[in-house]
C-alpha cells in the first residue's frame, strides 16, 4: 500500500493540518489511520517535538498539530517527516481492548429495528457486531467518544432522523459506517444496540480515557447485565 505525502495547511496560525486523503474521501484505510495514530504518539513523546506541541488531534485521514508558537512549524514538520518515513518500516503493535456488551433489551432499545433494517434477525446482527475487529479512528463529539472503524458494511445504518434526547452512558451504538460507545449520558442520533458497564471517560483518573487513538477493539456479548 502506498501512502501519499500529506497536504499541509495552516488551520489557524498555531494549528497545522496534515491531510493524507483528499477532501472528498469518505472511507479510510485502517493501515493509514493506524500509521497516523502512531505518528501522533511518536510526535507527542519525542523529546524534540513534544515540547513544541500543545495538542495533536487525530481525525480520519488527517492530523492537526497545535503548536505553542506557530513559528516553529518548519522545524516540527521536518521531524514529523523523518518520523513518518521511519514508521513505514515498523510493524505497528496496537493495544487490544476487549469490551463486554449486553446486547438488546432495555440496554439496546434499537437492536431489533436496526437488525430489521439490515435484513437480519437480532441474533445474527449481534454475532456480526461482536465478531468484528475494530480500531479507534479518532475521538471527538464529547470527551472519550471513540469513532470505531472496521464496521461490517452489512451493519452500516444511516443516523436517526430525530436524535434520542437521552442516551445512557456506556451505550454501544451504530451511526453510518461507525460503531461507538457513549462515554456519558447525552442526546444522540446513533442506533443503540447494547450497553457496557465499563467506564469510558473519567477526568479524575489517569489515563482519563479507556480508548486511545489507534487502539484495536473487540466486543464480547455477555448474557448477564451488570450495572
Amino acid at each position: 500500500m502506498s501512502i501519499p505525502d500529506p497536504a499541509i495547511s495552516f488551520v489557524t496560525e498555531h494549528g497545522i493540518l496534515l491531510e493524507f486523503v483528499t477532501a472528498d474521501c469518505v472511507v479510510i484505510e485502517p493501515d493509514l489511520q493506524q500509521r497516523l495514530c502512531q505518528l501522533a504518539r511518536l510526535l507527542r513523546e519525542h523529546s524534540h517535538t513534544g515540547p513544541l506541541l500543545c495538542d495533536i488531534v487525530t481525525a480520519p485521514g488527517s492530523l492537526l498539530l497545535v503548536l505553542h508558537d506557530g513559528r516553529t512549524a518548519r522545524r516540527l514538520l521536518r521531524h514529523a517527516e523523518t518520523l513518518w518515513r521511519a514508521s513505514a518500516q515498523k510493524n505497528i503493535a496496537a493495544r487490544l481492548v476487549t469490551i463486554p456488551v449486553f446486547y438488546g433489551g432495555e440496554a439496546g432499545p434499537d437492536l431489533e429495528h436496526a437488525a430489521a433494517a439490515c435484513g437480519m434477525d437480532s441474533q445474527s446482527f449481534v454475532e456480526h457486531h461482536s465478531t468484528g475487529h475494530y480500531f479507534v479512528q479518532s475521538l471527538g463529539f464529547m470527551p472519550g467518544f471513540a469513532y470505531l472503524g472496521g464496521l461490517d458494511p452489512a451493519l452500516h445504518l444511516t443516523r436517526k432522523n430525530t436524535p434520542a434526547a437521552r442516551v445512557p452512558a456506556g451505550s454501544v451504538a451504530i451511526g453510518g459506517s461507525h460503531t461507538g460507545i457513549y462515554p456519558s449520558e447525552s442526546p444522540g442520533g446513533w442506533h443503540i444496540i447494547g450497553r457496557t458497564s465499563l467506564t469510558l471517560f473519567d477526568p479524575y483518573v489517569q489515563p482519563p480515557c479507556l480508548l486511545q487513538p489507534g487502539d484495536t477493539v473487540k466486543f464480547v456479548a455477555i448474557t448477564e447485565q451488570r450495572t
Binding site: T12, H14, D55, V57, T58, V66, R71
Partner: protein
C-alpha cells in the same frame, strides 16, 4: 474563601484552559478573555495561569470570608464594595485593571454590564484554589467537571482561595483593559478557495451580526449566505471531520458562519473558511447578541508577528511589576 450569596447563569471558574487532551475529545475551556485573566493575575502577584471568575450576567454578590486583594477586568459591571453589614457601600464604581483590598466579611457586588452578555473577569489574590482536573481548574460545563462541582456557581457555593503571594502589594497604578472594536483579523482557512468569488469577498466586505444562539462553544453569525463553488459539484461539507480549534470560522450548509470559542468541540466537518488570529481571540468575550463584526485578512507572518508582540507586552508588564515590587 469566597461565599457566593447571589449567583448568575454562566458564573464559572476559569483559568487559561485545558491543553494536551484534544485527541481524547476534551475541549480547552478557559477564560474567554485570557489576556485579561493574565494581566489581572500579574497585578496581584499570582501565577499568570491562576483561576479567576468569569461573570456573564449580573447581579452577582460575593462575600469574602478572608482579607483579599482583587482585580476586575473586562466589561464594566459597576462593581461596588459593601461593608460587613452589607448595607453600606464602602467603594463605588470600581475601575477595571486596578487592585482593591477587601476585608473579611465585606462583599463585592456586580451589576449588569451596559451591553448585556459582555463578560467581566474577577481575579483574586491566591487564585481560586479548586482541584486541578486534567491539568486545569477551568469549568467544563458540557461534560460537568473542573471548577467547583463541574457547574456554574450558585448561591451558597464556597470557593477556596490559594495562598496569596507576598508580592501582592497595593498598587496605585493599574493596567488598561484592551478596548474591543469587533474588528477581527483573520487568516484564510484550508477551505477558503472552495468558496465562490462572491462569498470570499463578502467575508471581508460585509459586516456580520452575532445572534442570540451564541455561547462559550461558538458564536453564530448572520449575514450574507456563504456558498461553496457550484461548478465542480462539490458536496456541501467535508467528507471527513478534521481537528478544529477555538478561533476557527466554520460554515455549515446554511451559509451562516460559526466562530468556534473556548468550549468548542475538538473535531468538526464543516468547511473552514478562515480563522481569527490568536491576538484578537479575546474579543469574543465581548461579542453579544446584535454585535456587528468585521473581518480583515492578515498574512501568516503578520499573525505570528502580532502574537509575538502581544507576548512581549505581557513580558514587559511582568518585568515592570517585578521591579516595582523589589525591596527598596
Amino acid at each position: 474563601m469566597i461565599e457566593v450569596l447571589l449567583g448568575s447563569p454562566m458564573l464559572t471558574i476559569q483559568d487559561t484552559g485545558r491543553t494536551g487532551w484534544r485527541h481524547l475529545g476534551v475541549p480547552r475551556c478557559g477564560m474567554m478573555d485570557e489576556l485579561a485573566l493574565r494581566q489581572g493575575n500579574l497585578l496581584l502577584g499570582n501565577d499568570e495561569h491562576a483561576a479567576g471568575l468569569e461573570i456573564t450576567s449580573a447581579p452577582v454578590l460575593l462575600k469574602f470570608l478572608q482579607d483579599s486583594a482583587i482585580v476586575l477586568m473586562g466589561a464594566d459591571m459597576q462593581a461596588s464594595i459593601l461593608d460587613q453589614t452589607h448595607k453600606n457601600t464602602r467603594e463605588q464604581r470600581l475601575l477595571t485593571g486596578f487592585v482593591y483590598q477587601l476585608s473579611a466579611g465585606e462583599c463585592l457586588r456586580l451589576n449588569a454590564a451596559k451591553t448585556p452578555g459582555q463578560r467581566a473577569m474577577l481575579m483574586v489574590s491566591g487564585g481560586c484554589d479548586v482541584p486541578l482536573v486534567m491539568g486545569s481548574r477551568s469549568t467544563d460545563l458540557m461534560s460537568g467537571f473542573g471548577g467547583l462541582h463541574g457547574q456554574a456557581l450558585r448561591a451558597g457555593d464556597k470557593i477556596p482561595l490559594g495562598q496569596p503571594s507576598h508580592k501582592c502589594i497595593h498598587l496605585k497604578s493599574g493596567v488598561r483593559q484592551h478596548s474591543w472594536n469587533h474588528q477581527l483579523r483573520v487568516l484564510t482557512g484550508p477551505d477558503f478557495t472552495q468558496f465562490d468569488q462572491r462569498s470570499r469577498q463578502a467575508l471581508f466586505e460585509k459586516s456580520w451580526m452575532v445572534t442570540a444562539q451564541s455561547n462559550r462553544m461558538g458564536l453564530r453569525l448572520q449575514g450574507d449566505r456563504l456558498q461553496l463553488n457550484q461548478s465542480d459539484n462539490k458536496p456541501s461539507s467535508r467528507g471527513l471531520s478534521i481537528g478544529v480549534l477555538p478561533g476557527l470560522i466554520q460554515v455549515p450548509p446554511d451559509g451562516q458562519p460559526i466562530l468556534l470559542a473556548a468550549d468548542a468541540q475538538t473535531t468538526g466537518g464543516y468547511p473552514a473558511i478562515a480563522s481569527i488570529i490568536s491576538t484578537d481571540l479575546w474579543q469574543l468575550a465581548y461579542m453579544t447578541n446584535g454585535t456587528r463584526v468585521r473581518f480583515a485578512e492578515v498574512s501568516l507572518a503578520e499573525a505570528h508577528g502580532l502574537a509575538r508582540h502581544q507576548q512581549q507586552q505581557m513580558d514587559r508588564l511582568r518585568d515592570a511589576l517585578t521591579l516595582r515590587r523589589a525591596p527598596a
